[in-house]
């Protein structure tokens, strides 16, 4: 049992490289063991009202609320998550007319680390990994919401796989002839970035002069919002605008004006293969896409003043077997070496308490209409069929 002090500083993490290549569950936070007795009693008492709605402040999340749902108000949804939530969850939000996330152990652990980050040290990388459908993306969203409430600058890439497949038009980059641009994706991303981080865009000033073309350029000292506007209006330069934004943020986060959270979902896309082809049908490597190249630089921990939270995902990944979920399998040699060292956090299936809580949530929203859904037998059936996997349970309970 490894002792985890409050501050996971860089050198400690470096020393702990002896975790080997295969990861078992490392989420062994001592706090949960301490609070477990209180947890269970609180949990069983509050079983009837599992929706502890802590609308006040999400920072009050403690271990007492593990297994219970908390509500995200609609305003926050629009600003913080213009593009971050998984599509099935968005449908559920629309149906229930509210967004409720379950508080779970991996997210709690991450929040604990983030609360105690030392901004003088280089950014620590946290990787959420686990089987398919266990809740990695939603844990990431939980963390993003928390940081947004804490007034961090959120750099959220919802699904990196969307950048390496099904891209319609690829332009040769103006900045660097070898690389390729993706104007559409870049412009959508810039729009969402602008929605989520409005207030920072006027505060941060650009530290270099950027010339777009013969007629347009951005002067040194102008707000970052200008760059973003330029990227959105002139779609041809959108990818370059993204690159500039990333570079500026990386440079200026160490100054201390803001804290930067880099949240990338499906980070194994950055080091995998793409399905994109050039006009002469030759395949494109991820490095040749400008966005991926810049994002890789972002995910390197050579800057400080924030944190990097990443998720591995097999669902959208290309050329990876369905049963792969370990970091080494999904990232490959190259990716693993690039991301090494990092803190792995395993996200597993529901434990019995969380499962009960989820079913209670559905029942309270009158979502499960079968007569047997209330009974013990019905719950056992659902448990068997879904094997306590959150994704599977959601699909089982979904509409036809």
């Amino acid at each position: 049992m490894r002792e985890r002090s409050g501050t996971p500083n860089f050198r400690e993490v470096g020393r702990e490289r002896n975790y080997g290549r295969q990861f078992e569950s490392t989420s062994c936070s001592l706090e949960t063991l301490r609070g477990s007795s209180a947890l269970y009693s609180a949990g069983t008492m509050l079983k009837g009202m599992t929706r502890l709605i802590s609308r006040a402040h999400k920072a009050k999340h403690g271990e007492q609320q593990e297994g219970q749902h908390y509500n995200i108000p609609h305003q926050d949804l629009k600003t913080v998550f213009p593009h971050g939530l998984p599509p099935r969850f968005v449908m559920q939000v629309k149906t229930f007319n509210e967004a409720c996330l379950m508080v779970r152990k991996p997210a709690l652990e991450l929040l604990h680390y983030l609360k105690n980050t030392n901004f003088a040290h280089p950014a620590v990388r946290y990787i959420l990994y686990g089987e398919k459908g266990t809740g990695k993306t939603l844990s990431l969203c939980h963390v993003v919401h928390f940081c947004a409430k804490q007034d961090w600058l959120i750099l959220h890439v919802p699904d990196a796989h969307r950048w390496v497949k099904n891209c319609r038009d690829l332009l040769q980059s103006t900045y660097n002839k070898q690389r390729l641009d993706q104007p559409l994706e870049a412009s959508t991303w810039l729009k969402n970035f602008r929605t989520s981080n409005e207030r920072f865009l006027s505060q941060i000033k650009v530290q270099e002069k950027y010339v777009w073309n013969k007629r347009e350029s951005t002067e040194k000292g102008s707000p970052l919002g200008d760059v973003v506007e330029q990227g959105i209006t002139r779609v041809r330069n959108a990818t370059d605008a993204v690159g500039i934004v990333l570079k500026e943020l990386r440079r200026q986060s160490s100054c201390g004006i803001f804290h930067l959270l880099v949240a990338v979902d499906g980070v194994n896309a950055l080091w995998g293969r793409t399905t994109l082809k050039r006009e002469d049908k030759s395949p494109i490597a991820p490095e040749e896409l400008a966005f991926i190249y810049n994002l890789r630089k972002m995910v390197k921990n050579d800057w400080n003043g924030g944190a990097i939270v990443l998720t591995l995902s097999q669902t959208g990944s290309l050329f990876k077997p369905r049963t792969a979920y370990m970091p080494q399998e999904l990232l490959g040699e190259e990716g693993f070496n690039a991301l090494d060292p990092f803190i792995p956090i395993l996200v597993s299936n529901y434990n019995p308490k969380e499962f009960q809580s989820c079913i209670q949530y559905y029942l309270e929203n009158n979502w499960l209409q079968h007569e047997k859904a209330h009974t013990e037998g019905g719950m056992k059936e659902l448990l068997f069929l879904s094997n306590a996997n959150p994704g599977q349970l959601e699909r089982l309970c979904a509409y036809l």
């Binding site: 089987e131 369905r322 049963t323 037998g377 056992k380 059936e381 448990l383 068997f384 069929l385 094997n387």
Partner: protein
């Protein structure tokens, strides 16, 4: 005579060569004088040749109705069968006295091995009672008068049975009325059969009477027999009625239940196998588990991503209300995903039999959990694209 001679010419020539030193008769006219010479040596051959000619000139007439065999004919067949049985026993080196039908079957399979798939097309030697359909014996004498008085009803055995049964029924009723009049009514002790019995079904009755029946006939018979059985009747009538009852054996007694084995920790477990299409599964079910299932070393959620397959796995446990109580470890190979799921389901049901009471085993059998699914892939036929699909029909 000329035409037959011409026909026989070449055949006779071949026989002559076989015979040896006989001068070849030139032309047709020499047939008659030569016949006297030939008669001694080749009588049987000539007879055979005559038979040939007769057959050749007669036209083929299709059989108009099923052949009726005389009783003597069938008796002769039975004698021939018995003699043949003794010969066969001698051939095989076994004792002719104790040569049973099973021994005959084994001997035939040994002497005439056949690769045919259809079992009924293979060579077999059975008692004539099995071969010749019953009651094909001719039922009228030489003067044309039928033996049975109800022959002209068409279904003589059925009507004679009904007549007999109704006669007995009336007798029994009369006796009962007499007893009632004398107030000497005996309590009808209804002895419940330890083994449940049922009336004959229509096919069995048809076999017994060797006649075709209609549904109405059968219903009338059953109604009569039911009414008869409600009456008080003596031993003779009971015997008469018992001919028409068959016992219903409880199927589940035939189910082999695996014995429980115990591993090192003292935990009970049981193993069994199951098959479906071409998938084979071997399953070990442990007691006191918490509902985890491992297939080929992988969790069942990962191995069967489709909900339908997991529902198949859940069926035996859900049926017996033992959802979270057992741990399962299984290996499966062959087939597709649905076939593998079905094979595992059968194997778990069989394994669970040893943890469960006999009644529940019977319920499982009735639910169809313990039956191997006999459906296999149908063979593709020539001239068709698949098993059933024909080639696209083109008008021209």
């Amino acid at each position: 005579m000329a035409a037959p001679c011409v026909f026989c010419g070449p055949a006779i020539a071949s026989r002559f060569f076989l015979g040896g030193r006989v001068t070849l008769a030139q032309g047709q006219g020499i047939w008659k004088p030569a016949a006297a010479e030939l008669q001694a040596g080749t009588r049987s051959q000539i007879l055979r040749l005559k038979h040939l000619t007769v057959v050749k000139t007669k036209k083929n007439v299709a059989a108009s109705r099923p052949e009726k065999y005389t009783v003597d004919f069938i008796k002769k067949q039975i004698e021939e069968f018995n003699i043949g049985k003794r010969h066969l026993a001698n051939m095989m080196g076994e004792d002719p006295e104790t040569f049973t039908q099973e021994d005959i079957d084994r001997a035939i399979v040994y002497l005439f091995p056949s690769g045919l798939f259809e079992k009924q097309a293979r060579p077999s030697m059975k008692h004539p009672d099995y071969i010749f359909p019953k009651q094909s014996a001719i039922q009228w004498g030489e003067d044309g008068r039928p033996f049975h008085f109800l022959f002209y009803t068409g279904k003589q055995s059925y009507y004679s049975l009904m007549h007999e049964a109704y006669g007995k029924f009336l007798d029994a009723e009369k006796r009962q009325n007499q007893l009632q009049a004398k107030d000497l009514q005996m309590e009808k002790t209804k002895t419940k059969d330890p083994i449940v019995s049922r009336w004959l079904i229509k096919e069995e009755l048809e076999g017994m009477l060797a006649e075709k029946l209609s549904d109405r006939d059968y219903t009338r018979f059953i109604q009569l027999v039911e009414r008869f059985s409600t009456l008080q009747c003596g031993a003779a009538e009971e015997e008469f009625l018992r001919r028409f009852r068959r016992s219903v054996t409880i199927q589940s007694k035939k189910q082999l239940t695996e014995r429980l084995q115990y591993d090192e920790q003292g935990r009970a477990f049981s193993t069994s196998e199951g098959k479906r299409k071409s998938a084979k599964a071997e399953v070990v079910v442990y007691e006191h588990g918490n509902g985890k299932i491992k297939v080929n070393g992988v969790d069942h959620l990962l191995y069967f991503p489709v909900t339908q397959d997991r529902e198949q796995l859940m069926f035996p446990f859900h049926f017996l209300d033992r959802l979270g109580k057992h741990d399962v470890n299984c290996t499966v190979s062959g087939g597709g995903r649905s076939a593998q799921a079905g094979a595992i389901r059968l194997a778990t049901a069989r394994a669970l039999c040893s943890f469960v009471t006999e009644d529940e085993v019977e319920w499982m059998r009735q639910a169809g959990l313990l039956t191997t699914d006999p459906r296999v892939r149908e063979r593709k036929k020539p001239g068709q694209e698949g098993a059933r699909r024909k080639f696209t029909w083109k008008k021209r």
